[in-house]
Amino acid sequence: MKNWLSPKSMTGIALIAIALIVLPHVVGMGGQAWVRILNFAILYVFLALGLNIVVGFAGLLDLGYIAFYAVGAYTWALLASPHFGLHFPVWAILPIGALMACVFGVLLGSPTLKLRGDYLAIVTLGFGEIIRIFLNNLNSPVNITNGPQGITLIDPVKVGDFSFAGTSQIFGMTMTGPQKYYYLLVALALLVIIINVRLQHSRIGRAWQAIREDEIAAKAVGINTRNIKLLAFAMGASFGGIAGGIFSAMQGFVSPESFSLIESIMVLAMVVLGGMGHIPGVILGAVLLTFLPEVLRYAVTPVQMALFGKILVDPESLRMLVFGLALVLVMRFKPAGLWPSPERSRELSEKPVEVVK
């Protein structure tokens, strides 16, 4: 802990706090859609931080991370919707969702502990697909997940009589649903960030990093690599589960479509593009990759109009094209990510290049 009570850093914290409080109102001027995108950015920050535990800290490549998000989302959807007629309170569902995701994390982790690198990657990928296929098909003979149609009319987050959905008056201010969720999400995100920072510098965090650098050496110095790896899976999964629960409450609707492989890949891209293992970098990656496609959505058509005077190319594919190119270019010029941890970038610049040019 640096001297974070000094006047200088206090001013910094105060400025960030004010910015975070004002943000949804500024963004909201451009329409509530942007506040929703902002909320998604924070949800992705959750997910990216959760995955960062597994990939960034412990060095276990997980390509099926979205499965835990799905488990959390469906847990909420099933326990708080007319589908089964259950309406559990938030206090109950969020922990249950996190616990369910955690169980699935261990379920995935335990048979795969022996696997290394890319073998692990493909198994986790397969696991993610299995979960999605089950969600898609568990509507017969017993209807559990309602299949591809998904589950609708999911309860919003409610604390006592206060619902986070819909517009209401707070302290004389009109607040829309997305804006209220924004504050909830920011509060949770801060909590998650603090947990992550504390974890990274804890005994467990150091054990994860030891395993990432050299598993055999880690074992030799007395780290129980099996349990510590399982712990990484379980913790990462729990964060995913919580994010999933809030996603489903915020949307009011879940369907298997939201949990396809490309989502896992996007979250991984956020982690790697931002700077693996470096919390500020991962947050940056998540925010950038959520906003980039959305900004492109609005920018692509006017730019085409200005350049060619008509819409030459389908805007939807053009924006994804630009997005893909952006991924390639960023990695080309910043191979360690946009904002890597200082140690990481030092290692990279010192390391002699192995393969001949």
Partner: protein, 307 residues
């Protein structure tokens, strides 16, 4: 019993296609330890190019068989160029960077290729022109078509050719040397860049053939067809032990057969509880089970510390 044989045949056909695509993954992985996520898209581009060329030529009055041959060649040439450029643009500049970096560029290239294909060919499913006459065979109570026979024979020939290339030619020797140790191989006078580029080019040519096969087997093609196919093929490569040629072939064929049998019998096994729409999970369930007992695939050597 007839159903059993029939499903084995169907699985063999599908499996040959998986095997061809899996070879592309495994060659690149074996040489540079990279999962080329964009490989499935190369298959897709191959299929779409061959449709365009074949139908254009056929419309100009060329006999369909010849037009199809031109389509296949055009697809192979385009894909070879594509594979070469992929390596040049997205992977070569990143050699020696952290391991996950090229994975992200691979994903980026995959997104780029899919959307380029959508811009050029549109969102709709395209019908594949029937390249071969529809001939049906009957053998021991099973039915199969000429297309199926050609797919299996052609894949077998191509795989034999690849094995010859890798184990009997100078380029193949250079490839194997590079796979073992790039630095030492380059000291022995192997041009690493050329070897890696040729692995991409050869893999892409096989992918193009596989694309044309998938297209003519199912008679449709689509800009998203490469993704799941690539995933299955990659699964097949891992199942056999990634980096191992024989493993990729065996893994591909095994996966095809398991899928076909699984889809055919799952209803009976579970008393109708699970239907054939669970087909896609077999690949992954089998993969997980195999890797639990053989962590480096069926034929894989012990993997190094490539965590």
């Amino acid at each position: 019993m007839d159903i059993f044989l029939q499903q084995i045949i169907n699985g063999l056909v599908q499996g040959s296609i998986y095997a061809l695509v899996a070879l592309g993954y495994t060659m690149v992985y074996g040489i540079m330890g990279l999962i080329n996520f964009a490989h499935g898209e190369v298959v897709m581009i191959g299929a779409l190019i061959s449709i365009t060329v074949t139908s254009t030529l056929a419309a100009a009055g060329m006999p369909l068989g010849l037009a199809g041959l031109f389509g296949l060649v055009a697809a192979m040439l385009t894909c070879m160029a594509l594979g070469w450029s992929l390596e040049r643009i997205a992977y070569r500049p990143l050699r020696g960077s952290p391991r996950l970096t090229p994975l992200i560029t691979a994903i980026g290239m995959s997104i780029v290729l899919q959307n380029l294909a959508m811009i050029f060919w549109g969102r709709n499913y395209m019908t594949f022109p029937p390249l071969l006459p529809k001939v049906n065979f009957e053998f021991a109570g099973t039915h199969f078509t000429l297309v199926q026979v050609v797919i299996v024979l052609l894949s077998a020939a191509l795989m034999a050719g690849l094995v010859f290339l890798v184990y009997r030619t100078k380029l193949g020797m250079a490839m194997r040397a590079t796979a073992q140790n790039p630095a030492v191989a380059s000291l022995m006078g192997v041009n690493i860049n050329r070897v890696i580029a040729s692995a991409f080019v050869i893999g892409s040519a096989l992918a193009a053939v596989a694309g044309v096969m998938v297209g003519s087997y199912y008679e449709i093609a689509h800009y998203q067809m490469g993704f799941m196919l690539g995933l299955k093929a990659f699964t097949a490569a891992v199942l056999g032990g990634i980096g191992n040629l024989a493993g990729a072939m065996a893994g591909g064929i095994l996966l095809g057969i398991i899928e076909a049998l699984g889809a055919g019998y799952i209803g009976d096994f579970t008393g109708g509880f699970l239907g054939s729409h669970y087909q896609d999970i077999f690949a992954f369930v089998v993969l997980i089970v195999v890797l639990m007992f053989k962590p480096s695939g069926l034929f894989g050597e012990k993997t190094g510390d490539r965590a």
